[in-house]
Chain length 213, copies 2
DNA sequence: CACCTTTTGAGAGTTACTCTCATTTCATGG
DNA sequence: CCATGAAATGAGAGTAACTCTCAAAAGGTG
């Protein structure tokens, strides 16, 4: 998951001098491409930004851009927070009820994800609303997160991670959180994103209820 | 919605002689393109099928194909069942509880959608599983259906169709049904699709519950 | 039949993405 | 410190989905 699910700072090259020069350079290139894309998109919009331009600004060849990111959309979206999220889920006390677990983890992820880099979080969600291809790619990435949630839920509750029920639960969960992100962006990123996630989690846990706000 | 939401036969040209020749020809062209695509995909697979080939077999120009369908994926997926679904929702007695309404309508839609043309339903869901672009496009189309459900739900319960709660509910609903479709296809279309939808609706209505099947 | 509108076809252009191969850059053992 | 192997990069050609434009054709109408 991307928008609401940061749980730790993304790997930066300076942080790990133990890595070989090669690995550090790869991380730098990745970041350079992302930074170039962010800048160009803010300058001239998503569609108007071509991969060639991104490559030029990042000082790599177009071939290299595609080596690092399978699609243009991935440059904006990809993050590798899923493993961290999984670890977080696993580190919870085994007797904690599942709803509490998932709620706390998701809320924390949302909080960190936004605090980490508000500008990027806004850009991403804005593009999710405006560019169908970005939104689609995001949904794809979310469904991967969904499968991970299936696994975690199964591990904790002894269910079959591949049962229809678990999978439907996970995907409906993901769908709801996705909509919360879109809602946030559509309303111009007003208010606290964490509050929206909290309200979304209420709906996912208890349904719509009978009160009419 | 496409896979599980047919509620009446798609418009066929012979059925409406009152339409002008122009309109009837358009419908025929649409069907010809679809039929050509279905056949080619079954012969040689989705990726190997180019729009040029589709155009050739449908005896139209490539330009025309793109005039009828915005993307290649849409040729496989598009159907206009949303208005029918909406009408169905509206025709329900006003005092019927919402969960019953949506359940019955969805189950009926699933039933008809599969019975209408099992081969097409299978092909579509199979492609949803195998081809990411098709799956993405399907999710997009589903989110449109989601907005429609927001409207219907709001109409019946007096809620704000654009409130976070309603939108999260609708999208989580859509996500769950989507997963049921994928599940059906992944398991080789074994068993009755309607049963899967029924079980999915249980999860969406009551959560996972405590029983472990 | 003539006129107007809509639809179609042809073709050129853009761009994301793929594949291949030669060149460069890093890692490593002597 | 250099030679050898492995990995990353760049260059370039190729594909196919889409877009745009404009002229030809076909349907509707007086």
């Amino acid at each position: 998951m991307t928008t609401m699910t940061a749980a730790r700072s993304p790997l930066s090259p300076a942080d790990r001098p133990q890595l070989g020069l090669r690995e550090r350079k790869k991380i730098k290139t990745r970041e350079a491409i992302r930074t170039a894309m962010y800048a160009l998109v803010e300058e001239q919009g998503y569609e108007a930004t071509t991969v060639e331009q991104i490559a030029e600004r990042a000082e790599v060849s177009p071939s290299t851009v595609f080596r690092y990111f399978p699609t243009k959309e991935d440059i904006v979206l990809t993050d590798e927070y899923d493993p961290i999220l999984l670890e977080e889920l696993r580190s919870r006390p085994a007797d904690e009820p599942w709803p509490d677990t998932i709620r706390d983890v998701m809320l924390a992820a949302a909080r960190v994800g936004v605090e980490e880099d508000l500008r990027v979080a806004r850009l991403r969600t804005r593009l999710m609303v405006e560019i169908p291809a970005v939104r689609s790619r995001m949904m794809e990435s979310m469904s991967v997160t969904g499968r991970m949630i299936c696994g975690a839920l199964a591990e904790r509750t002894g269910r079959d991670p591949d049962s229809l029920e678990v999978r439907v639960y996970a995907m409906s969960f993901i769908g709801g959180l996705m909509e919360a992100s879109l809602y946030w962006a559509e309303k111009g990123h007003q208010g606290d994103f964490t509050d929206l996630v909290d309200r979304a989690l209420d709906v996912l846990e208890h349904g719509l209820g009978t009160e009419k706000p």
